[in-house]
């Protein structure tokens, strides 16, 4: 199966010949990645440096002593670190994401219905973004990925702050980066090879997604995590000690206050969806649930009354407040398409914005440089299945 084609041919395909760009005919190959060997990595003292974390000012990620190996932010967290996963992840250009929660001794998280859990001061969420060579399942894993960045959300007394560390070329440690970074990436994806620039966000961009304005009041803006909500955590995780429901695990490990958690039968729960779920295998009766939950985790941090895109006609929260069907776009959409035209993804602005990488048009506006074919296929299937008319 030939996966390679020349730049020149593809430029012709895009109608760009004659623009004076490079006429290089370099061929692309799928890269291979190898993590540094253990010998090169110093084992850290097995105790998180909480004081340093609260200062949130380390130049090197290793100063926080979050992981047993300073090279490997994907496993073996130090004391009080627990790995977690979301039942539907926010798409980040096909990177593998390794998430850990650290809660200080003696403190507990409160369960919150519908929204992000209430984390005690001193809590830290650590997420590492690591690019595989291909999107195949067997291409995943620290040993064969290009670890790019580790993001920290640190809950200080004044609220959450964000810190971004990009991994050094030798992959032995990561260095604080405030201005963002572009990482040229070649990625195998099914029978295709895609090339794009993965974007490490500038610190100032973090709040673009991580803002929560209670009641839509912009003056009450709160910096908020996105993922750790009950519905995305109410799923099974394969811990080193065996499979366990994450909420149960958090209660058992004493980081989640069980008295604030409803009975298991009353906990909200999202579907499990990731790139390895066959969209076509989802029962028709459940497509809407899957799709709106995917839209919730990918879009609703902005596209809701309490988010940064509250001025638009698309509201993605997977509750009664979902809004989009037959809605007219409001601000600067530059199109005559309705947000959702039942029965036609292609004519729906929602899908058009997901299924493009044109700068200025693609959504979300930051954090996505590749098309998420699986997620957009899910949304397409749902939109195409909708009946009804906007007339």
């Amino acid at each position: 199966m030939k996966k390679i084609k020349t730049l020149l041919a593809s430029m012709a395909l895009m109608g760009l010949v004659g623009c004076g760009s490079s006429s290089s005919t370099d061929e692309l190959t799928i890269p291979t990645y190898a993590a540094p060997t253990d010998a090169a990595c110093n084992d850290q003292v097995q105790d998180v440096n909480w004081d340093k974390l609260l200062q949130a000012n380390a130049t090197k990620l290793s100063e926080y002593r979050l992981f047993q190996s300073q090279c490997n932010p994907t496993e073996n967290p130090n004391t009080r670190g627990i790995p977690y996963d979301l039942s539907i992840p926010l798409f980040s250009d096909y990177t593998s994401k390794y998430r850990f929660v650290f809660v200080p001794s003696g403190e507990k998280i409160d369960y919150v219905e519908g929204e992000v859990f209430d984390f005690p001061e001193g809590s830290v969420l650590v997420k590492t973004f690591s690019m595989p060579s291909t999107t195949e399942k067997d291409s995943r894993g620290y040993a064969i990925e290009n670890v790019i960045e580790t993001r920290l959300l640190i809950h200080k007394s004044t609220g959450w702050v964000a810190r971004v560390y990009t991994w050094d070329d030798n992959k032995l440690d990561a260095t604080r980066e405030t201005n963002g970074k572009s990482v040229a990436t070649v990625l195998g994806h099914g029978d295709d090879i895609v090339q794009f620039n993965y974007g490490v966000p500038a610190q100032g961009q973090c709040t673009e997604c991580h803002q929560y304005n209670p009641g839509g009041d912009k003056t009450q803006q709160i910096f908020s995590p996105i993922g750790p909500k009950a519905r995305y955590l109410n799923s099974t995780y394969s811990y080193s000690t065996g499979d366990e429901n994450q909420i149960q695990k958090w209660i058992a490990d004493g980081i989640l206050d069980g008295s604030t958690v409803p009975d298991a039968s009353n906990r909200e729960q999202a579907k499990q969806f990731n790139d390895y779920v066959d969209v076509d295998s989802i029962p028709p009766s459940e497509v809407e649930t899957y799709a709106t939950e995917w839209l919730d985790i990918n879009c609703a941090h902005c596209h809701r009354l309490e988010g940064g895109a509250s001025n638009t006609a698309f509201k993605a929260a997977s509750t009664a407040t979902f809004q989009g069907e037959c809605e007219v776009p409001v601000s600067g959409a530059g199109t005559g398409s309705l947000v959702i035209l039942p029965g036609s993804a292609e004519s729906s602005l929602l899908y058009q914005r997901l299924h493009t990488t044109d700068p200025g048009l693609s959504m979300p506006p930051i954090g996505r440089n590749a098309i998420h074919t699986e997620g957009s296929a899910l949304v397409k299937r749902w939109l195409d299945s909708l009946t009804g008319s906007c007339n």
């Binding site: 030939k2 996966k3 004044t158 506006p365």
Partner: protein, 602 residues
């Protein structure tokens, strides 16, 4: 991102590179000499942060220093931007809190002049500047060019000054140009002055969902819409020049469902000239148009050659403007009936109690319940000079095409106009249909007048069903339609006061009164209804000519009334707006505040 297609081709360049390779010309801009002339100040509450260094004015250093300055910002900071043209690779983003999560307000971004300090944002994925939730912002003396989306977007801020700012897309009339130039939204107390906006594929200056707005002394050219005030309240737009756009100045109120609807706008003493550009906004595909699935409320419907448009916004005063050389219409006043007549569809009384959406009652029910009205009232157009383009006789635009289909030939056939007439449309165009429906008595199935107008009946029906839905199953805030907004038959808007949409003392180049007319007669006794829907004057005239014995006299009178009628003559009390102002960091801006100049004394 590049992806291989099914033939497994590799497209090996990134979108960003594509733009750099094939994008705008940057003629002129690159020749600006880079100059660093700034001294830091650490005065608490009034720090001055110099961006760039005397020995490093590289694009990346300037961008990075600006981003770092925002991370380290304190309330009261002024960021001094060096002279020169700098390429951005990232949006300059700030959401109101610095890197330590501390609220920061009163920031000033100040360049060396709008032609001297330029950020080329073509390398950033979306906006040039996107600043949110920070009050009392000042943008001054710089330019943002070639943004892929908006040049400067401000969200959720109280107090915004954009002064001597240029937002430019250098290639004319290109659909891929960005959306908005100067774009405050969901904000309040906004002053935009002495700025230059050119080339936007949407609106050059766009103020949306905001309150207390002054837009003055700006020049907007070669945008789709020069200046647009949308879903906003208490705005003064004066002493601007809007030239060479598709439409000059727009006042829109769209059904957005955010509870933010516009009113109280004054447009005065502007030069609105020769806005005859093609409409280059990305609109709908032919397939969408064919399937009638195209949203008709965006700027892509603006008829090329339109000076001023008011769309479904009430309480708007348009006066003392010079509105010249438009090939279609000088001033258009229209309800939302024009883009979408489903605003007046009867409620679906068979909606069950299990239904969870207000839109099942009628397409716009949720928007009415949200406080939106599709109609215009309180519109006063007076003392403007309005001319149509010499030698151009080509009204066009989807917004009016259907209504005016054949009007020219109808009028010339009937001898109403001759070939030498410069235009077939009135200089002031009013749809009239909202007023008509709001005043037409609703007669029930037995032929008995109900005492309500057609629109009031529709509103009442929607209200009743919505309440029933709410009482049963609908999980939403209890709402009701504001009867006044829906123009009840017995109200003081259209029912008894003919002046609610009126014009007076508008003259052409020869100081002769201009033509003004409604497309639908506003007098229901003169209107033929077909299956409950009113016929426009054109339709009625054509129907008269198609009778077994053509009624030429009636048709001629109707064709004449399309050019000019008395429906907008000010007969009673006309809407008179009061001065609007913006208060920013304790200073009031606007007529009667910092400005008592000629415009304000008109």
């Amino acid at each position: 991102m590049k992806i291989t297609n099914q033939l497994k081709l590799v497209v090996a360049i990134t979108a960003g590179i594509t733009l750099i390779g094939c994008g705008s010309s940057s003629s002129g801009g690159n020749s600006i000499k880079k100059v660093f002339s700034c001294t830091d100040s650490s005065t608490a509450g009034a720090r001055v942060i110099c961006i760039g260094d005397a020995d490093d004015l590289s694009d990346s250093n300037v961008q990075n220093e600006l981003m770092d300055a925002l991370l380290d910002s304190e309330t009261g900071d002024t960021f001094v931007l060096p002279q020169g043209r700098y390429n951005l690779t990232q949006t300059i983003a700030f959401q109101g809190k610095n890197g330590d999560n501390v609220d920061v307000d009163n920031l000033t971004f100040k360049g060396a002049g709008m032609e001297k300090t330029i950020f080329d944002a073509s390398g950033a994925s979306a906006d040039g500047f996107k600043i949110e939730n920070s009050d009392n912002l000042i943008f001054e003396d710089f330019g943002v060019y070639e943004s892929n989306n908006n040049a400067i977007k401000v969200i959720g801020s109280d107090g915004v000054i954009m002064r001597r700012i240029a937002t430019v897309w250098e290639t004319d009339y290109q659909a891929t140009n960005g959306a908005y130039g100067l774009y405050p939204v969901e904000s309040s107390n906004i002053l935009i002055e002495d700025s230059y906006v050119k080339g936007s594929a949407d609106a050059g200056i766009y103020v949306g969902q905001s309150d207390r707005i002054v837009v003055r002394n700006n020049t907007a050219e070669k945008n789709v819409a020069g200046i647009e005030i949308e879903n906003s309240t208490n705005a003064d737009v004066y002493n601007n020049v809007a030239r060479g756009n598709t439409g000059g100045i727009l006042v829109f109120d769209l059904p957005i469902g955010n509870g933010k609807y516009g009113s109280d706008v004054r447009v005065f003493d502007n030069i609105v000239d020769a806005n005859n550009a093609p409409n280059f906004a990305a609109g709908c595909t032919d397939a969408q148009v064919a399937a009638d699935t195209c949203f008709e409320g965006g700027v892509h419907i603006v008829p090329p050659g339109t000076g001023v448009i008011v769309l479904s916004t009430s309480n708007v005063e348009i006066y003392e403007n010079t509105i010249t050389d438009h090939k279609t219409i000088g001033v258009a006043i229209t309800s939302y009936m024009m883009p979408d007549d489903r605003v007046a569809e009867s409620p679906n009384e068979n909606v069950g109690t299990e239904v969870l959406k207000y839109t099942d009652i009628s397409k716009f029910a949720d928007k009415y319940l949200d406080g939106w009205s599709p109609f215009v009232n309180g519109i006063n157009i007076h003392d403007n000079k309005i001319t149509v383009a010499d030698g151009i006789n080509a009204p066009e635009g989807k917004l009016i095409n259907e209504l005016l289909l054949g009007v020219g030939s109808l009028q010339s056939t009937l001898g109403i106009i001759s070939g030498s007439e410069r235009t077939k449309l009135p200089a002031i165009f009013y749809d009239g249909v909202g007023q008509l429906l709001a005043t037409t008595p609703y007669v029930d199935g037995t032929g008995t007048p109900t005492g309500n107008s057609v629109m009031a009946t529709i509103a009442g029906g929607i209200d009743q069903i919505a309440q029933a839905l709410f009482d049963n199953t609908l999980e939403a805030t209890e709402q009701g339609i504001d009867g006044a907004e829906m123009l009840p038959f017995t109200g003081t808007y259209y029912g008894t006061d003919a002046s609610s949409v009126c014009q007076s003392a508008n003259v052409d180049a020869d100081n002769a009164a201009v033509n003004a007319a409604a497309i639908y007669s506003t007098d229901y006794t003169e209107v033929t209804f077909s299956d409950g829907a009113p016929l426009s004057k054109v339709e009625m005239a054509l129907a008269a000519l198609k009778e077994d014995t053509p009624d030429v006299a009636t048709a001629s009178a109707l064709a004449q009334s399309i050019l000019s009628d008395s429906s907008m003559t000010c007969a009673g009390t006309a809407y008179n707006g009061s001065a609007n102002s913006a208060t920013i960091a304790g200073v009031d801006y606007g007529c009667g505040e910092d400005d008592n100049g000629d415009s304000c004394s008109l």
